[in-house]
Every structure is written in C-alpha cells, then in structure tokens.
C-alpha cells in the first residue's frame, strides 16, 4: 500500500470532520494534488446535502409555533441586554469568547434577512414619534454616498440617499427614500442595481404611510460596485426585469 492510497483513505473521516487539526491539514495537502479525492469530495458534498430531504414534514401546531417564537424573542432580548453592561476596558482580552457572538449587534438582522430572501426585504418603517431620519443615517464609515433623484413627473417630490456600508466581510447598500406614492394592490417598488449594462434585482419594498422606505441590499452579487441605481414601481413583487416606470435613480 502506497502513501497516497493511505491518504485517499482518510477522505471520509476528513469529510466527516473526524480528523484532528493536524491530520486534516495533512489531508488538505494531499488534496491539493489528488484530483481523484477532490472530485470525490465534491460528490460527497452533493449527496450529503440531499440527505436531509428524506425527512417527513412534521406536524407543527400553530400554538406551539407561537410559543417557540415567543421564547426565541425572550432569549434574544435577554442577550441584547446582557451585552450592554460590559465595560469597554475589559472587552478586548478578558471577555469570554462566547460573548463575541452576541456583541455583533442585532442591527445587521435586517441585512441578514435581505440576503436570505431573494436578496432583499421590504420594511414597512412603522410610523413612530419623530422623523425616520433620526434612525437611519449614513454612518461616518459609509464608503460612498449617492443622491436619488425623482424620475417620474407623477412623483416629483420623490428623493432619497443611498450609501455603502461594510458589514463584516460584505458590502451592503442602504437606501433611504421619501416622497414615494403609496402602492396599491399587489404593487411594489423594486430596486435595480446596474452594472456592466445589466440590471440586477436589488429587492422589492413598499413604503410606510408617509411615503418613506428603507432598504438594504447585499452587494455581493455585483462584487460591491455598480454603475447606477434605479427604482421602479412594479405591478407586483415578482419581476426579474423592470416592467413599471422608473421613479427614482442616481
């Protein structure tokens, strides 16, 4: 038995993450020049990903569903409180590692959802006391800012700003708009990110009753850059190409 066969033999334990760090490293070195193992690893991943779909959809009574959700919310609220009293000087070295999870603020949650659900989420910015602008403003760290101008005579007072923020490893585009008309029926506004002459769907949204909206959009699909932005009023939120009129743009 050759050395190489020995190494190929650890493919399964490697894939199942049963190797020590050192063994895994050794296997990765082997992987770099064993095309056969690379191919097999790829195949393993494909099959592995199909396995969960064997499950039955379990009964989940509405009551239980609601109960569990409340518990999750309570848990998250507790964690949010816990993270506040940590004094700054201790933050760096002594803080238990576990805390580092909770510290990254929940502020990115909307962005997570944006990334999850077809790259975007609409938010009905609920009317609260005080102007919405008090809440969403470009941070000092914003990389670039854009002015959104009205494009349609039926909505002359439409306007807004957009900026790029770094969130962890990815760049988020944040748009804050105002002066938009209320949508009716299935209608929705849709953001288009234009790059290399192509229009990428940046997500759909609706406005609050005051014609305001805030949208975040993950710029990963366009590698963080674009040439222009356009917002259209669409007949519904299902489109993959613009069908309605352009109401805002850079």
């Amino acid at each position: 038995m050759t050395m190489s066969q020995d190494s190929c033999d650890t493919l399964l334990p490697y894939f199942l993450k049963e190797l020590s760090a050192k063994e895994a490293e050794a296997f990765e070195a082997h992987l770099a020049h064993c095309a056969d193992c690379r191919e097999q690893l790829q195949e393993l991943r494909q099959v592995w990903q199909a396995l969960p779909y064997e499950m039955e959809e379990a009964e989940l009574p509405d009551e239980l569903k609601t109960q569990m959700f409340s518990r999750i919310q309570e848990e998250l609220a507790l964690e949010a409180e816990e993270e506040q009293p940590i004094p700054l000087p201790h933050q760096s070295v002594n803080a238990p590692q576990r805390l580092s999870w909770y510290r990254k603020p929940l502020l990115t949650a909307a962005a997570v959802l944006a990334a999850v659900i077809g790259a975007a989420v609409w938010m009905n910015a609920k009317p609260v006391s005080g102007p919405a602008s008090a809440v969403v403003e470009p941070p000092a760290s914003a990389k670039a800012q854009f002015v959104l101008k009205a494009y349609d005579p039926s909505m002359p007072s439409a306007g807004g700003t957009a900026w790029i923020e770094q969130k962890g490893g990815t760049e988020q585009l944040v748009l804050k708009m105002n002066g938009l008309q209320d949508v009716t029926g299935e209608q929705a506004y849709q953001l288009w990110v234009i790059k290399d002459g192509k229009r990428y769907n940046g997500g759909t949204f609706r406005t609050d009753t005051g014609g305001n909206a805030v949208l975040t959009c993950d710029l990963q699909p366009v590698q963080g850059t674009f040439e222009a932005l356009g917002i259209t009023l669409e007949p519904d939120a299902q489109g993959v190409q613009p069908r309605g009129k352009k109401v805002l743009g850079t």
């Binding site: 399964l12 334990p13 199942l16 993450k17 049963e18 195949e43 393993l44 991943r45 494909q46 099959v47 592995w48 990903q49 199909a50 396995l51 969960p52 779909y53 064997e54 499950m55 039955e56 959809e57 379990a58 989940l60 239980l64 569903k65 959700f69 518990r71 999750i72 919310q73 848990e75 998250l76 964690e79 580092s100 999870w101 510290r103 990254k104 929940l106 502020l107 990115t108 949650a109 909307a110 997570v112 959802l113 990334a115 999850v116 659900i117 790259a119 989420v121 938010m123 009905n124 910015a125 609920k126 609260v128 809440v135 969130k167 962890g168 490893g169 990815t170 993950d218 990963q220 699909p221």
Partner: protein, 184 residues
C-alpha cells in the same frame, strides 16, 4: 433604537415563519422527540440571529446553509446528551463548515421542489441495503462518528468506511436532481 428593534423582530418573524417547520422537522427526524425538537428550533433561530458569520449568498442556497447549521446544532445536542467527550468544537466549525458545504442549488425554498427531492431520495434508498440505511441513520441523523459505529457494530473501521462509501455512491447515482442543480 426602538424602531430598529421593531424591524429586527419583523425580520425575525419572516424568517421564522418561513423555515420553522423545516428546522423542526429535521430535529424530529433526528431524535423523534418534540421537546428536543423545540430546543433545537430555539437554538437554531437564536444562533441565526446572533452570529456574526452571516449567510453568504455567493456560497450557496440559504436552505442548504440553514440545514447544515441545524444538523450541526442537532447532533451537537445529541452528542452532549450521550455524554461523550468526543464532541468536536462545533462552535467554530459550524459556520465555516456550513458555508463550505452549501453549494448552490435552485428552488430549495419551495416546498414542491423539496417534496420531489424527497421522492427521489426515497427511490434511491431502495437501492441501499438495510445495513447501509442504518449506517446513514446513525451517522447523518444521530451524529455518531465512524469509529463509534465501528465499535457498536464490532466491525473494523475499514468495513464501515467502505459501506458508507458504497452507500453514498449508490445514492448519488440515483439522485439526478441534486446532480443537475448542484453542479456549478
């Protein structure tokens, strides 16, 4: 701040409504116990929300990512229950592994696609022997390691490995959908 909180919980609600049944079903399949399944749901959704390693759309479908996280949390819990020290450091590995293994695929969000995939897997399972099926059950759903299974069965590790290898190869051969949709 209050507005942000409201948005947070709104966004959480959407995610939850969309995927809770999937996560719950996975946990039920994994251990068949409703209390356990409820705990897993809570762990998965709080983890989803508090982790700083977000989901990366460039690396694959969200559903695959979510299921990988669910499995890691589920088997981590099962292993803890079994009181084994052999628990791998899932805290760090979970997300990195999840990202790696969630290759792109289409439409897993849709229940119909999932149901078709389920049918296909059930078909493919017919080509497996009962010992192969049991092995996948122990390994994938219950989170036993190859070594543990070899000891339980009183078999050499090599035997278990080659059985798994054959089983996965057979499954792959009969899973056309996954092949079509997962290949880059």
């Amino acid at each position: 701040m209050q507005l942000i909180q409201e948005k947070q919980s709104f966004a959480l609600r959407i995610l939850y409504d969309r995927y809770v049944r999937l996560v719950y079903s996975f946990a039920m399949k994994s251990a068949g116990d409703t209390q356990y399944a409820q705990d897993i749901v809570q762990l998965v959704f709080t983890r989803l929300w508090t982790t700083e390693h977000g989901y990366d759309p460039a690396k694959g479908k969200f559903v695959s990512w979510l299921l990988t996280i669910t499995r890691n949390i589920a088997i981590d819990q099962l292993r803890k229950q079994r009181n084994q020290q052999a628990t791998i450091a899932y805290e760090e590995q979970t997300l990195a592994a999840a990202r790696l293994s969630s290759a792109g695929s289409d439409d897993l969000d849709h229940e119909i696609t999932r149901r078709l995939l389920k049918e296909e897997i059930e078909q493919a399972y017919r080509f497996l022997s009962s010992s192969q099926i049991q092995l996948i059950r122990r390994l994938y759903w219950e989170g036993y390691t190859l070594n543990e299974i070899a000891v339980q069965n009183g078999e050499p590790l090599g035997t278990v490995k080659s059985r798994l290898h054959q089983a996965l190869k057979t499954l792959r051969k009969h899973l056309n959908t996954i092949e079509r949709s997962e290949l880059p």
